[in-house]
Every structure is written in structure tokens, then in C-alpha cells.
């Protein structure tokens, strides 16, 4: 094997590209790879040149005025065409004439003192990039506005040849590109696999046996649509949808930082689930979270308790309880965190880069950063309210107390299970305005120029008729002219269902982000989303009922060669599911799942000593006191997240540590994950419980194994699979001694029925564990 590996570097690279004849966005599949040997007939600024300039030139010749070299700015036409400051007779760019354009001369000179980018920058242009720039200058060096900052327009549906394939609009855009590239879509996935994919995507849970049976039996042409609607009605839908939002909103059950004390923000998490389940429109969903405290309720009175609870969104950030801190330094950090979240999570831009200086790539000045910052800078909060302590420290001012009366009336979705005082950190502004200054180098103690609330002009100037507070900010965000909000959320959901976004860098739609693979589709979906009242469930339905989504995930050799990353979506999505859903799948298929929604987070099995080993020794979370009974079997999303020591089995499967806004999880494949699936008591207990259930049924071994397989993998096993697993069972049965059987079964707290044959149980338990460990089990395919 090693030998084979050694051969690889010898292979010579061959550029891979798709034929493309036009630079029109709608007709291009974008590739950021700078190595492609493909030379377009017409060079596009947005697709070919901007990525080069942005990546290699703009750090010194871009929007950041403080770091600009030689007064030259290359991200704007007027400045790039102007006479050079230092050599008034020369010009950086002379449209049509690379031979007298200083840009071209400098990137081609062998003279290292003249060469651009300078060797000291460790940046280099490839020969292909140089040719592209030359051709672009020859063709007139025309600039275009960055695609993401131009409001989307709804394009016409492209025409396709294979007209019987599309099931809805999405498919026209997808198929058109496939046809251009000369590939054809996969056939529809088989019904079992399709149902598993759908069920995992809509509820985060595998389909039940009865759902599998009824779907397989339903031969009507709209059987699939029916099951989609059925799954939407399952309240687990709200839980599934909430997860990506909890990552984005950096929700956790501890304050973070040094002592990392307990907090009670979970009622907000219950609200998020509720909001998805009642299909709250996205604009309302976000506006409440940004500015619910500033909204008059329906009767014109003060905002409702529910609206106030929604604003906990902006208080989910870490809050220090370390005694020695300078409060203002931390208060500034909280405001920064909210500002950065707005950028990354809601606008899909790295506005955070303008915290210390003008943005190096995108047209956001540092001043504009602090204008956005100003919206969040007026909260009635302090940097350090209290050191770690008792229940009074579980939320920080401004806070909202949720009474039992509230639960009875308006907040019925909050799963409060005792009579203790329940407090949540929420938003609330000062009566007077706290002044906001540009902070030099981002330092809290280096105020510069005073600024007023405002928004980056390059995205959309702030409408003067809007109130200059978070309410106005929410209006701006959902202004139909805002080019980003809809695109960014449509893309996030696309990523949830198809595994990666149409813009792969879901948190960066700026110049350094990747270009959309299907720009016209993105725009169509974004405009359609807005036109239909920001209806999330409708959008989800469009995605999951598309022919694109329903394709089989099988990978043929040809498709692999043509499109290893599945950019063209000529096969269905095949991805390992998120950490929390792995746990859900294990619990649900074994029958252990406790379907309770919401409430305080729980502490299931966890290896001993983790919290104790890393704690300062203070506070409720200094020791891990494991729960018992039904709390052990709650969905993964309810596992208590202590920020400094996140739940290990989830962290190992790339769950967010909820430190900061996160819009895209890594998806790794490591030996530690194998160890979790093989040895975590959660998996072993579920194996034992399911095996016991099956042994109590009147059926043969093959049937028992077949049923376990269906419950876990969501399909009937093949003959070969059945043979292998049955042989394994027989072998284990012979091998396991009563003593070892007893030990094997001693895992987890759920009781084993007395009258079961322990040896059989242990053998079957191993079979079930093996099924849990199949690659296919935790993969939607």
C-alpha cells in the first residue's frame, strides 16, 4: 500500500475545467482554483480577475487606507486608471494596453525590487493568472461590482434538453449546468434510502418502521410529497431546524471564560424550536431576535414577553465572571461579538476584519464597523456583573424573569419543570445613548472619532426613515434591496440539505469568499424566498422535493473523474450526519429516545473527570453530576454545553463549541470517532436494549437481525449482509462464556429483563453494535 502512495506525487497535474463560453454569471460554474489552465474567450472581472486581485494584491492596494502602499488602490476602476501618485506619467491600468500598464509590467518583471507581489509577501502569481490579467487588460480592464453586493433579480428559468427530469424550478438550474458539462443526473434514489435521507434532514431522526412500511407500500405518484408533509408535522422538525441556528447564535449553557459558570438561556432555545415549528417567517424570526425588546406588541403596548425572550439571541455570547478583569474591556467584547455575528451569521460577510482597521478586501471601513457596532452598544449591561455564584448569576442584566404565570399564558412552549426562579439574559437599551467611537486598533481604551449608527454603504446605505436603533437595523436587514440577507440564509439551508452551500464559504460572501457554483439558482431562490414572505418551510420543501435532492448518491467512475466534489450535483448528497443526530439515531432506533422537547439541558453519560480536571473549582459546573433515568435518553441537542469542556462525544464529531457564531461545521473522519461508536456507553446501552427487545419477540435470528438493521440503517439488509451478520452472531454465541456475557451486558442504567438468555443477548448486542458502526448508519446516503 505504501508503495502505491509513493507513486502519487509523480503524477503530473492536468487542469480540470468545464467548458464555458460566456462570462454571464448565470452560465458559469465558478471555480476559485487559480491553477486551471482554462483561458476564457472573454475574461470576467468578477469570476477571473477579482479573486486574483483580492487574494494577491488588495492587502496593500485595497480598501484599507492605513495600509495602502504607494497610494494605489486596485479594487476600484477610477483609482486604478488614475496616474500613479509616485510616477505621474505612469498608470496602473491602461485599458487595452497591458504593455504600458504598470500592473502588468510589475507582475512580469524579473527585477525583484520591482516585482509584484513583492517576494517578501510570500505571495506569487501563477503563469496562468498573469495571462488572465494580461487578457483582461487587453479586453478593456473593465470592473464590475462584486456580485454579492448587487441585489438579486429573479432570473428566468433556463431551458433544458431533458425536460422530463425537473420536478421544480431548482432542477432547471441544476440540469442546465449538467447539460453544459455533458453529464446526466443520477436516477432517483431507492425509496428506502430516500426516506432515510428525508427523515434525517427534516427531523434529525431515522424513519420509524411504520413510516418505512407505509411509504414503501404507497404506490401513488405523490407518495413522496405526502411523506414530506407528514414529516413537517412532526415536532422533531423544529428541533432539527433549530440546531443550525443554535450554532449560529452560539447558544450554550455556561458563561464561558475563566470560571465558566452555569447559565439558563435554554428558554430561548425552546423558543427557537417553537418558532421553526410554527413556521415563523424568517424576517420576523430574525427581527424579534434582533429587536424584540423595541417592538410594540400587537396592541401597541410594550413588547411581549415572547418578543423579549427572542432577544436572548444577542446575549448568548460568552460573559466573563473573572474577578480581575477591566469591565469595559469585556463589555466592548460583547458588543463586538454581536456585531461580528450580524456580519457572519446574517449578512455572510467578514465584517469582523474591520474591527481593528479598514477591511483589507471588502469595501468596509473601520468607521462603518463601528457604525454597526453602535446599534449594539446601548445595552444596559456591564462587562463584569458578578463573579461566579448561585442562581442569581445564571443570567446577567438586562434579564427577563419567566414566571409560572408566563408559562401558563404566553410562553407555553418553555419547558419549565419546577417552581424555581427562571431568569434569562435578554436585550434592553439604556434610556440615554451611550456614545460610540471608532476604537483605534480595536482597543477598548483607545477611542477615536465618534460615530452614529449606520450600515456599510457597499451593502446598502441606511434608510434615514428607519429608527436609528436595532429595530431600524432589522428593517434594513430585511429591506428588499438588501443584497445579502436572503441569499445568505437560502445558502445556509442549502448547505444543510445538500451538504455544502451554493457559496461554499457560507460565512463569507465577500471578495475572498468562494464564488457561487450556481449563481442564478441562488438568486432565483433568494428572490422567491422574499416574494413568498420569507417562508422557511416552503423553501425547505422546494429543496427536498426537487429531483436534484432525490437523486441516488451512488458515485460512478465517470462522475468521479468529471466532478469529484459534486459541484454539479449530478448525484445526491451523501454526508455523515451531525454529532447530535448520531446520538438521536442511536437512541431512537433502540427505542430509548425520550422525545421531550426543551427544558433545562441534561447531563448524560460522560467519561469521568473531564469537568473536574479543567475547572477552577468554582461554581455549579465544577463537577459533573450525571443525570439518571429519562434524562439520559434526551436528544443530543439537549446535552448541557459547558463551553470550556464541551460534551466530548459531540465535540469529537465536530459539534460547535459555541464560542462564537459558527455557520459551517467541519466534517472530519477520525480514529477518535471510531472509538466513540465502539465504546461509548450510549451506543452500547442502546445495543443491549434493542437486542433485548428483539430477543423478546417471537421470531428467528435472521428476522431479529433484519429488524435491527432496518431500525438502524433504515433499509432491509441484503442477503449478503444478513449472511455476514448471522454468521457473526453464531460465532459470538459460541464464544461468549456466561461470565463474559454478564460483563458485556453491564453497561448503562436501563434495566435488562430478567428472563432473557444472557449469552444470546450478549451475542445479539454485539451484532447490533456492529450495525451501529456501519459507515452507512450515520451517513445520509
Amino acid at each position: 500500500m505504501k508503495n502505491l502512495l509513493y507513486l502519487l506525487p509523480i503524477v503530473v497535474g492536468i487542469g480540470w475545467f468545464l467548458p464555458s463560453c460566456t462570462t454571464d454569471m448565470s452560465n458559469r460554474v465558478a471555480y476559485n482554483g487559480d491553477g486551471s489552465g482554462h483561458m476564457p474567450d472573454k475574461v470576467s472581472y468578477n469570476f477571473d480577475i477579482r479573486p486574483i486581485l483580492s487574494d494577491k494584491c488588495l492587502a496593500c492596494h485595497g480598501p484599507d487606507a492605513a495600509k495602502r502602499e504607494a497610494g494605489l488602490r486596485l479594487d476600484m476602476a477610477e483609482s486604478a486608471y488614475k496616474a500613479l501618485k509616485e510616477h505621474p506619467r505612469a498608470h496602473a491600468l491602461v485599458p487595452g494596453k497591458p504593455e504600458i500598464s504598470e500592473v502588468f509590467l510589475r507582475i512580469t518583471t524579473p527585477d525583484t525590487s520591482e516585482m509584484m507581489p513583492p517576494p517578501s509577501s510570500n505571495l506569487k502569481l501563477s503563469a496562468h493568472q498573469i495571462k488572465l490579467i494580461e487578457k483582461w487588460i487587453k479586453q478593456g480592464a473593465a470592473y464590475e461590482k462584486h456580485w454579492a453586493f448587487v441585489p438579486p433579480k429573479k432570473p428566468a428559468l433556463p431551458s433544458v434538453k431533458q425536460t422530463d427530469w425537473p420536478k421544480n424550478e431548482i432542477d432547471y438550474f441544476i440540469l442546465q449546468k449538467q447539460e453544459q458539462a455533458g453529464v446526466t443526473p443520477n436516477e432517483q434514489a431507492d425509496k428506502e434510502r430516500l426516506l432515510k435521507r428525508l427523515s434525517l434532514d427534516l427531523t434529525g431522526l431515522p424513519p420509524s418502521l411504520s413510516l418505512m412500511d407505509s411509504f414503501l407500500a404507497d404506490k401513488s405518484p405523490n407518495a413522496y410529497e405526502k411523506v414530506v408533509d407528514q414529516l413537517f408535522k412532526n415536532p422533531a422538525y423544529g428541533e432539527k431546524m433549530a440546531l443550525h441556528w443554535l450554532d449560529l447564535a452560539r447558544y450554550a449553557d455556561s458563561h464561558g471564560y475563566q470560571d465558566d459558570g452555569y447559565r439558563t438561556q435554554w428558554p430561548w432555545r425552546d423558543w427557537v424550536i417553537h418558532a421553526f415549528n410554527k413556521n415563523m417567517p424568517y424576517n420576523e424570526f430574525v427581527s424579534w431576535q434582533l429587536a424584540g425588546d423595541l417592538m410594540p406588541n400587537r396592541d401597541g403596548g410594550p413588547s411581549s414577553k415572547e418578543q423579549l425572550l427572542a432577544t436572548a439571541f444577542n446575549r448568548n455570547h460568552k460573559i466573563t465572571e473573572e474577578g480581575g478583569v477591566i469591565p469595559e474591556e469585556y463589555r466592548t467584547m460583547y458588543v463586538t461579538d454581536r456585531t461580528d455575528l450580524l456580519g457572519k451569521g446574517l449578512l455572510g460577510v467578514t465584517i469582523e476584519c474591520a474591527h481593528c482597521h479598514d477591511h483589507k478586501y471588502d469595501p468596509f471601513s473601520q468607521k462603518e464597523y463601528y457604525q454597526l457596532f453602535a446599534f449594539f452598544n446601548n445595552v444596559k449591561e456591564v462587562g463584569m456583573e458578578s463573579v461566579i455564584g448561585g442562581p442569581d448569576t445564571y443570567a446577567k442584566k438586562p434579564m427577563n424573569e419567566i414566571s409560572n404565570e408566563d408559562i401558563k399564558n404566553i410562553l407555553s412552549f418553555v419547558n419549565k419543570r419546577d417552581t424555581n426562579r427562571l431568569i434569562v439574559s435578554v436585550m434592553g437599551d439604556l434610556d440615554t445613548t451611550r456614545k460610540t467611537f471608532v476604537l483605534k486598533r480595536g482597543a477598548y481604551d483607545a477611542p477615536g472619532e465618534e460615530v452614529q449608527p449606520g450600515t456599510p454603504k457597499a451593502i446598502l446605505p441606511f434608510d434615514d426613515s428607519y429608527p436609528k436603533n436595532r429595530l431600524g437595523l432589522a428593517k434594513w436587514l430585511f429591506d428588499k434591496k438588501n443584497p445579502l440577507t436572503a441569499r445568505v440564509y437560502v445558502n445556509l439551508l442549502w448547505q444543510e440539505f445538500f451538504g455544502k452551500g451554493i457559496v461554499k464559504t457560507s460565512g463569507d460572501f465577500g471578495m475572498q469568499g468562494e464564488l457561487p457554483s450556481h449563481p442564478a439558482l441562488l438568486d432565483w431562490l433568494a428572490v422567491d424566498f422574499m416574494e413568498h414572505g420569507w417562508n422557511i418551510r416552503r423553501l425547505v420543501k422546494q429543496m427536498v422535493t426537487s429531483a436534484t435532492y432525490r437523486q441516488s448518491a451512488k458515485i460512478t467512475t465517470e462522475k468521479l473523474a468529471a466532478d469529484p466534489d459534486n459541484t454539479l450535483l449530478a448525484r445526491g448528497p451523501r454526508y455523515r450526519i451531525h454529532a447530535e443526530f448520531i446520538k438521536d439515531l442511536v437512541l431512537c432506533s433502540s427505542g430509548l429516545l425520550n422525545p421531550t422537547i426543551g427544558g433545562p439541558s441534561v447531563k448524560p453519560y460522560q467519561p469521568a473527570g473531564l469537568w473536574e480536571g479543567a475547572t477552577s473549582g468554582r461554581g455549579l459546573l465544577s463537577m459533573y453530576v450525571q443525570d439518571h433515568g429519562p434524562n439520559l435518553y434526551r436528544r443530543g441537542m439537549y446535552t448541557l454545553i459547558k463551553r470550556t469542556v464541551p460534551p466530548p462525544a459531540l465535540a469529537i464529531f465536530d459539534a460547535s463549541n459555541r464560542d462564537l457564531c459558527e455557520v459551517k461545521r467541519l466534517r472530519t473522519n477520525t480514529p477518535l470517532q471510531a472509538l466513540v461508536m465502539l465504546n461509548d456507553p450510549t451506543v452500547l446501552e442502546a445495543s443491549r436494549v434493542l437486542a433485548a427487545r428483539l430477543l423478546q419477540e417471537q421470531s428467528g435470528v435472521t428476522d431479529k437481525i433484519g429488524k435491527a438493521f432496518r431500525l438502524i440503517v433504515s433499509r432491509k439488509p441484503s442477503e449478503q449482509e444478513t449472511t455476514l451478520l448471522t454468521a457473526y452472531y453464531e460465532k459470538e454465541l459460541k464464544k461468549i462464556t456466561p461470565d463474559r456475557a454478564k460483563k458485556t451486558l453491564a453497561v448503562g442504567e436501563y434495566p435488562t429483563p430478567d428472563r432473557i438468555d444472557k449469552t444470546k443477548l450478549a451475542a445479539l448486542m454485539r451484532v447490533v453494535t456492529t450495525i451501529y458502526n456501519l459507515e452507512e448508519t450515520i451517513t445520509k446516503s
Binding site: G13, P607, P646, L672, R740, K742
Partner: protein
Amino acid sequence: MEKEILEHGLNFNRRRFLSRLSLGLGSAALGSLLIPDLFKSSGAEEDGFTPGIPHFAPKAKRVIYLFQNGAPSQQELFDYKPKLREMMGQEMPPSIRGKQRLTNMTANQKEFPLVGSFVNFKQYGESRAWVSDLFPYTAKIVDDLCIVKSMFTEAINHDPALTFLQTGSQQGNRPSMGSWLSYGLGNENKNLPNFTVLLSRGIGNGQGVYSKLWSNGFLDSIHQGVQFSKGEDPVLYLRDPEGMDRQDRRDMLDNLAQLNDLSYQEFGDPEIAAKVKQYEMAYRMQTAVPEVMDLSKEPDDIIKLYGPDCLVPGTFAANCLLARKLSENGVRFVQLYHQGWDQHGNLPFEIAKQAKDVDQASAALVTDLKQRGLLDETLVIWGGEFGRTSYTQGKLTKDNYGRDHHPRCFTIWMAGGGIKPGMVYGETDEMGYNIVSNPVHVHDFQATVLNQLGLNHEKLVFKHLGRRYRLTDVSGKVVHDIIA
């Protein structure tokens, strides 16, 4: 069967390679099984850099970082300031303090009386380095150490300061130093994680540690620090369940591999082959980790060298011995944290205990590596996250005082790995408050560490969300003066 899957996967990956342009991947990196998704190039590597291949010939191959969490007081350990004793109880001159911001613990303190160390210092070795009586064992090895008295940082609180030292940024969410090295250099041992973390705690005032300190940030999670803990499960979930022996496990994995192969034949997804590989790696780790954790075979003279505590799992001494074994087995970066150095009050009592916890084993580790001929290729680092004030926090009594956090100077030492031995670098003023010569910023320190491992800190870059990130962020200069 496994071989078939792998080869099949490779066939696929070769095609995939063809489809990508950058083909600098070297054989060293390819041979490594600990880089599971090697073929899944993130595209974020810089031109001319291949993960797993250093920029130039390294002096050191591995690092052991003995982090003293909580910030040990330099005035009581290495930075001898007789003047402070002379000026005992006198007010700290405002001109010395300048505009230094203070933590909230002393910001409202009305007086800042200087306090000399309760402990005596002597000079040792050929280098004549000053070491306090609290460190008798360290004193004996000063000629192997490069003591840097002029470290400084930007943060004044534990969380940001620790995070800054470990990740180059105060905010977190970036890769830790160990993750960068794992990414930059690849691994030497395919059966052990490349970056391991060991925790221990003294009796002194403790400050928590947090897993973000050994986070892989935006790098692949294979570069994440893996915590080895005392007890039966040194790596989380490592131990097979009760009632299952190695043969049982082997049988299960063989079955699993056959079943996964069926799935692979159907889907052709290389992730399936990768999964089989990861299970095999997990299986090997199950043997390799307990072997390396087993200290029972260490000879008496080694036990004596590290001190009796080294047989008590979870102590700093045991972790030092373990660190040597891990490092000896090719683990690229072994990170220890010893908590309890935050002496805001009651300093004389607490620091004496803390010092006793770490002195013998720290020195033993250097000596042990040296006698094995490993010190040349192993960089050992000892130090905390900032220094402590020259004036007392709280009341100064005849025999008791405390010291607050102080970012402007602190002392660390390094040994081996191509660092000059027997050297004292940098100097602070006579009040031990400001640096007067050769300041070393945290980023300079990080740049120097990377340099010793054959990595140019300005070129070890990873592009994430459109920005190029470095361990040293946007600054840092290699401290050539201390390189042998």
C-alpha cells in the same frame, strides 16, 4: 479486503489528484495514516507549502511544553531583585508604572508597596544564572537552560493571556501551537495522536484550563490536541467494554470491514474506505496508548530521577515522565498544564508548594532527555502566561503578601531543540517591572519555536474565510540571539 478498499480508494484519489493542479505532496506526508483526509486538500494551503513538510531543515523534531498555568511569580523563581528587598514597603514610583493598565483586583488599591522576595537566590553553573532556593533541582541544570527573563505579553487576565500564548490570538477559535506543528510537520508515529495534552494541578490558587487551548481551530480536527488523562481510559473511549477481549474486537472489526466494503461497492464513496482506515487506526491506538502510559517498566533510577510522585498518576511528575515517553515515541507536541500558580495572596506559602510540585520533575525531564541523546531534537519549554507585579496585592505583612498579574515582563526557560544552553537572555529593571534589554514578545517566542522546528512563521499560513492566518498573527521575529 481492507487492502482492496484502500486501493480502490487510491485509484479514485489518483483521479482526483489529476483533477487538481498543485501536486507538491511529498511522500513523507503521504505515508502518514494520521492524516486521514490527505487527499481532501482543503485548498487553503499556500503555494509552495505542503502540510507535513517543513520549510527548512529543523533543529528540533518535537516539543514538550511544561505550561505553568496561573502565572508563576518571576520574582520568587528566576528574576533576582535585591533592590525590591531594600525598598520593601515603599511606594512603587509612578514613573516606573507609566500607563500600565491594572486588573480590577488592584485598580482601586490606594497604595502599591514594593515587596522583595521572601526567598533567597544563588548563582549556579557556568552560566552563573540566578535561581531561587525554591528550585534546587532546576538550579542544577541551568547550564542546559536558556532562561529568558524578558518575555512580555499584551493581556492582563488569564483567559486571554493563556489563549494568546497558545494560539497567537487572545480571542480563541484559532489553532493551538501544537495543532500548527502537527499540521506543519505531520506525524512520526501512526499509532498515537500527534498532539497530546496532560493536565495536573497543584494546591495553589487555581485557574481553569479549557479545551480551546488545544483546539485545532479551522485546521482539520486530526490536528486537535488529544487529552490523555489518568485512569483506565487515558484517551476518551479508548478502552473496550467489559467482557470484550482483543480477539472479540478484531472479529467485530473484520465483520465491520466486510460490511463496509459491500457499501463501498455500491456507492463508490472514498469516505467509506477512509472510515475503515480510521477504525484500524483506532484499533492500533488501543494497544499503543496503554503501552506508552504504562510507567511500571521504568527502571528505579528513572523513578528516582523524577521523584516518587511520578508513580502517582495525574501528578505533574507523572506527566513529565509520560511526556518523555510520548515524545520518545514520536508524538510531535506534548502539552502539559500545571494549574495553581495564581498567587494573588498568601504567596510565600503557596508558591513554595507549587515549586516543589514541579521543580524536580521539570529538571528530571531535561536530564532524562539528555542522557538518552534526545535533548538535541526535543525542545522543552517551561513558563506561564504572564508575570506578577513587583508590588503587593492586598496587605503587606511581615511574612505574607500577594502579587497581581503583570504583562510587562515574565520569565520562561527553554532547553534543547537547538536553543543555546547555559544562557540568560533579556533583563528587567531593578524593580523587576519593565524590560530594559532584549524584549521577547509572545509572537517572537512563537516564531522562534516554529523556527526550531523548521517552519517559517510567516509561511506557515492557512487561509480560512478569506483571511490568511498564522500562529504569529501579523507580527513576530525569530529571536536569533538564543539559537545555538
